[in-house]
């Protein structure tokens, strides 16, 4: 009996450790694999040219990723600005002010929204957002636009990020102990003061982590953005001009035009870039969260 228990204990232990090491190794393996495939282009060009040059002429062997990085950053920031404050206030309202019933109705709706495949958001973007931007929003600013633009990409991304971030924020706010809210109120805080001093303060690390994950998701999102953003090489400040984010570059071209030397490797470099940037975003937010948790 004792032997069996000891052996089963050991087996479970080994199994869990193996799983853990595999999970830990996974990102390293992906990173190494991408680097290995991207090595030719990294060897052939200076990193500075790859990252900061605007010249993208694969036929001539010129690979400047700046337009792609710029577009990616642009739509991500736009999506974040559009979605983050909205999610924050919605989550606070749903968990702290609204009726309990409202939250119970909203939760499944949010889950459904989060579960819709991104291609559906893309189609919706093409059918609704793109024409709306072309016909109403752009003229409002006196600009002509096809509608396939950074703005459309940002809006579609924002809509996709909302259920994702909202879900996390609601969870964060729900885990804050009622006793802490009671303490604040009983000392004379108004409901809104209590929200500021307890909910936002105590939930701050959680808010940051929800935002961080939301940004990372937006940065890497591919299909929906690709469908509405225009996919044109351009570095423009105007949200009404088209762009060409990194994930779209990979998805549009992988498997094609392999006859061009180094093209394959360039796409791998794009993937590596995406991977590294998302890693940096995550680490940055982790660090931030760690800092705020000390309070």
């Amino acid at each position: 009996m004792n032997r069996i228990r000891r052996i089963s204990d050991l087996l479970v232990n080994i199994w869990m450790r193996a799983g853990l090491y595999f999970l830990l190794a996974l990102p390293v393996l992906i990173g190494v694999g991408l680097y290995w495939k991207a090595a030719p282009i990294i060897g052939g060009h200076s990193l500075r040219d790859l990252l900061f040059s605007r010249q993208w002429f694969p036929m001539k062997g010129e690979f400047g990723f700046m337009p792609f990085i710029y577009s990616s950053a642009y739509v991500t920031v736009l999506a974040f600005i559009l979605s983050a404050p909205l999610c924050l206030f919605a989550a606070i309202y749903l968990t702290q002010f609204g009726k309990h019933r409202l939250l119970q109705v909203m939760l499944p709706v949010i889950d459904i929204l989060a579960g819709i495949p991104s291609v559906v958001y893309g189609v919706w973007g093409v059918l609704v957002i793109v024409p709306a931007v072309a016909e109403y929003v752009a003229p409002l600013f006196g600009v002509a636009s096809s509608g396939y633009s950074l703005l459309s990409g940002g809006i579609v991304l924002a809509v996709m990020c909302i259920p994702y971030m909202l879900n996390m924020l609601i969870e964060v706010f729900q885990t804050i102990p009622v006793g802490m809210k009671e303490a604040s109120l009983s000392l004379g805080a108004t409901h809104w003061e209590m929200v500021k001093h307890v909910i936002i303060r105590k939930g701050f690390p959680g808010i940051l982590s929800a935002f961080g994950l939301g940004i990372a998701k937006a940065f890497g999102e591919t299909i929906a953005v690709l469908m509405v953003v225009g996919n044109t090489l351009d570095i423009s400040v105007s949200p009404f001009s088209p762009g060409y984010p990194l994930p779209a570059l990979i998805a549009n071209n992988y498997g094609e035009m392999m006859s061009i030397p180094d093209y394959d490797s360039a796409l791998m470099f794009a993937a590596l870039l995406l991977f590294v940037i998302i890693l940096i975003i995550n680490l940055f937010f982790r660090y931030f969260i760690h800092q705020t948790e000390k309070i």
Partner: protein, 271 residues
């Protein structure tokens, strides 16, 4: 010749004071708290006398905490609870006020069953209520923080780490911090839900003695499961059972000569 009646200001003041002492500070009329599953408090009627220690006794789950929380309307936070009836604090029904709610809550310092320090430093926990009151004077706040931490016997333990997070304290220390925090807003009433359940005998003594002292100026409603503590502190004992008040009165009557079977059994098991 017309003679005017001579009013003695002192005498009038004494009369008013006397009258004030007579009227209960809290009067609960027909208080019901229920959820969809059932009733938690059933038609509670209770008068809390001024400057006395009222002890709530009763088995676990009988509604003591719920009663305390209804008094300063923290039941608002639990949307599933339906509260009806009247809770008059100095004659004002707290269940009906809206804009004055924070100010009315400040009349009552709550010491919850488990301590919940706010997610800020030790110092700011005690200063919190003062800042909400609009007090900005740094010296005044610092003085109040020190005095109140001393009152609960915590000052010497924390005076060198006032800026560290409050949740770095032990549970017993947190409990005393929460009491200091509540006292700092100068409430008239203290709602204490098993305040000494996490404390060692020495800290318990400090708190008990503090309560006896505070009675001069405060009304204290104390929930406890420790019968000996009830004997030591109570001026008035209320025994609750399944959301009802079964018996109440002077501790000598209630605890020595219980009338109902449930209370007899509770006292036997408690000793």
């Amino acid at each position: 010749m017309i003679t005017y009646p001579v009013f003695s200001y002192q005498k009038a003041k004494r009369m008013v004071n006397h009258q004030e002492k007579q009227t209960p500070i809290i009067e609960i009329k027909g208080l019901n708290v229920r959820t969809r599953e059932g009733e938690i408090l059933k038609n509670i009627n209770l008068k809390i006398p001024r400057n006395k220690i009222v002890v709530l006794l009763g088995p676990s789950g009988c509604g003591k905490t719920t009663l305390l929380k209804s008094l300063n309307r923290l039941t608002d936070l639990h949307k599933e609870l339906q509260v009806s009836g009247e809770v008059l604090i100095d004659g004002v029904d707290i269940l009906k006020v809206s804009r004055d709610l924070p100010a009315m809550r400040q009349k009552m310092g709550l010491l919850s069953q488990r301590p919940f320090p706010l997610p800020v430093s030790i110092y700011r926990n005690v200063a919190y209520g003062l800042k909400l009151k609009g007090i900005r004077n740094k010296d005044l706040i610092a003085h109040s923080v020190e005095t109140n931490l001393k009152r609960v016997g915590l000052w010497d333990e924390v005076k060198n780490r006032l800026n560290s997070p409050a949740n770095s304290l032990s549970i017993g220390q947190q409990q005393r911090l929460c009491l200091a925090r509540g006292l700092a807003v100068k409430p008239a009433i203290i709602l204490a839900d098993e305040p000494t359940s996490a404390l060692d005998p020495i800290s318990t003594r400090i708190i008990e003695n503090l309560f006896k002292e505070l009675k001069e100026h405060y009304t204290i409603i104390l929930v406890t499961h420790v019968l000996r503590q009830a004997v030591r502190l109570a001026d008035h004992v209320v025994f609750m059972y399944y959301g009802d008040i079964i018996e109440q009165g002077h501790p000598d009557d209630i605890l020595k000569h219980p009338k109902t079977e449930v209370l007899k059994k509770y006292l036997v098991d408690g000793n």
